[in-house]
């Protein structure tokens, strides 16, 4: 029979843990709201950007810009996006698992894989596995377009210089607070869109020249993609932290109920024993 004092201690410790998880859940919920807004707000820009690029790209020859050129994928780069902080359920392990699977798959076809990471969790995970990183960024739970640019620019440079032939990104796609998809998406080279059979490309006027515009827009488009990936990853992080903390809070409630029951039983047992002792003591006197 567990000691009464021990059970009491357990109960109060579970309760204080619950307070923490509850608070974390609420913080995550409000951060999620903000991050979700960010994702939604960024969508019109991103989708229009890809429209503009698509309408531009169908009209130029594929070889015209280095970022539209496809090469054999001999050397590839994998960029893994996770969070800095833990306590968000399987969020980070899911991403690294997907990234590991991807690495295993690509091992045969490629000569070399280089790696970049965003987020402390990915960094620590792959550092333990003796990877070296081309780019290493933290992910403090909020982002800006300039951060996306700072991450994407060196990647683009490496691609243009021929150091790598393709770039993939492993991150979490945000669907809703409950559902998130882990995806490995190709960032570079861009998938050139093709026109449908009956579609006729509209003749455009350009200012400045077509080439100058293309050279300007394509990197921007990639920054935009990077930005939305970061936003989605962050929203997913808060979403999964919220769910994780919610279930932790529920578990704590369950546990307190169980422990309280145990405590009461132990208390009653103690009282019963005491009574028995008194009764038998009184009987012995008679």
């Amino acid at each position: 029979m567990a000691n009464l004092k021990d059970i009491r201690k357990r109960i109060s410790s579970v309760k204080s843990t619950q307070q923490i998880t509850k608070a974390m859940k609420m913080v995550a919920a409000s951060k999620l709201k903000k991050a979700q807004d960010g994702v939604v707000q960024a969508r019109p820009y991103a989708s229009k950007m890809s429209d503009v690029l698509a309408s531009l790209a169908v009209r130029v020859k594929p070889g015209k810009h280095p970022l539209l050129q496809r090469r054999d994928e001999k050397k590839i780069e994998l960029l893994v996006i996770t969070s800095d902080r833990g306590l968000c359920g399987g969020f980070n392990t899911n991403v690294t698992k997907a990234a590991d699977n991807f690495l295993r798959e690509k091992k045969e076809g490629c000569e070399e894989v280089v790696m970049s990471v965003v987020g402390r969790k990915a960094r620590d995970y792959y550092r333990r596995r003796n990877w070296e990183f081309k780019t290493e960024e933290l992910n403090p739970g909020s982002t800006s377009f300039s951060q996306a640019e700072a991450i994407a620019r060196p990647v683009i440079d490496r691609y243009v210089e021929g150091e790598i032939d393709a770039v993939y990104v492993a991150y979490t796609e945000f669907k809703s607070a409950m559902t998130q998809n882990i995806v490995v998406k190709r960032l570079l080279p861009l998938e050139p869109k093709t026109l449908a059979e009956d579609e006729v490309p509209v003749e455009y006027l350009y200012e400045p020249s077509e080439d100058a515009l293309l050279a300007d827009i394509i990197p921007r488009y990639i920054y935009t993609q990077m930005f939305s990936m970061l936003l989605e990853s962050i929203a997913s992080e808060h979403g999964s932290r919220m769910t994780a903390m919610d279930s932790a809070t529920n578990n704590a409630t369950e546990m307190t109920a169980k422990l309280t029951l145990l405590y009461n039983r132990a208390r009653q047992a103690a009282i019963t024993t005491e009574l028995m002792e008194i009764v038998s003591g009184a009987e012995a006197l008679n």
Binding site: K48, V52, L205
Partner: protein, 135 residues
């Protein structure tokens, strides 16, 4: 009324700024201002820091814009920008402070400094905001 209106959509990475029907758009292109009336030929241009104006009826309105692109179709103008602000969103104090900061930095830097042009651009943006907020 679709034939004589233009749908003007302005978006920055952080939000959709405008999505309205207008009669005319005048945007600061990199190679000079350009005006768009309904039925404009398809046109793609880079936009630079300045004022984008649009007309609704007799009313002319302004938006502070920074670098970006404008895609013009017959009855639609899509403007994608790094940042865009409507006049009533501009924080005049902040813009003034940004202007003073940029001016201060510029006074210290020489032409050959890398930051010089960044500061110049910052000054540009601040001045642009101030001038629009004061309209």
């Amino acid at each position: 009324m679709e034939s004589d209106k233009i749908l003007l959509e302005i978006a920055s990475p952080y939000r959709q700024v405008l999505n309205i029907e207008v009669d005319e758009v005048i945007a600061p292109g990199e190679e000079g201002q350009f005006g768009v009336l309904p039925g404009h030929t398809p046109f793609l241009a880079t936009v630079t820091v300045g004022q984008l104006m649009y007309r609704q009826g007799n009313q002319m309105k302004h938006v502070a814009v920074s670098h970006g692109y404008a895609e013009v179709e017959y009855h639609r103008v899509i403007v994608l920008l790094d940042a865009a602000e409507l006049p009533d969103e501009i924080d005049l104090d902040r813009a003034e402070k940004a202007r003073l900061r940029a001016e201060g930095r510029l006074a210290e830097l020489g032409h050959e400094d890398r930051d010089y042009y960044e500061e110049l651009a910052a000054l540009d943006r601040a001045m642009n905001r101030i001038s629009i907020a004061k309209i």
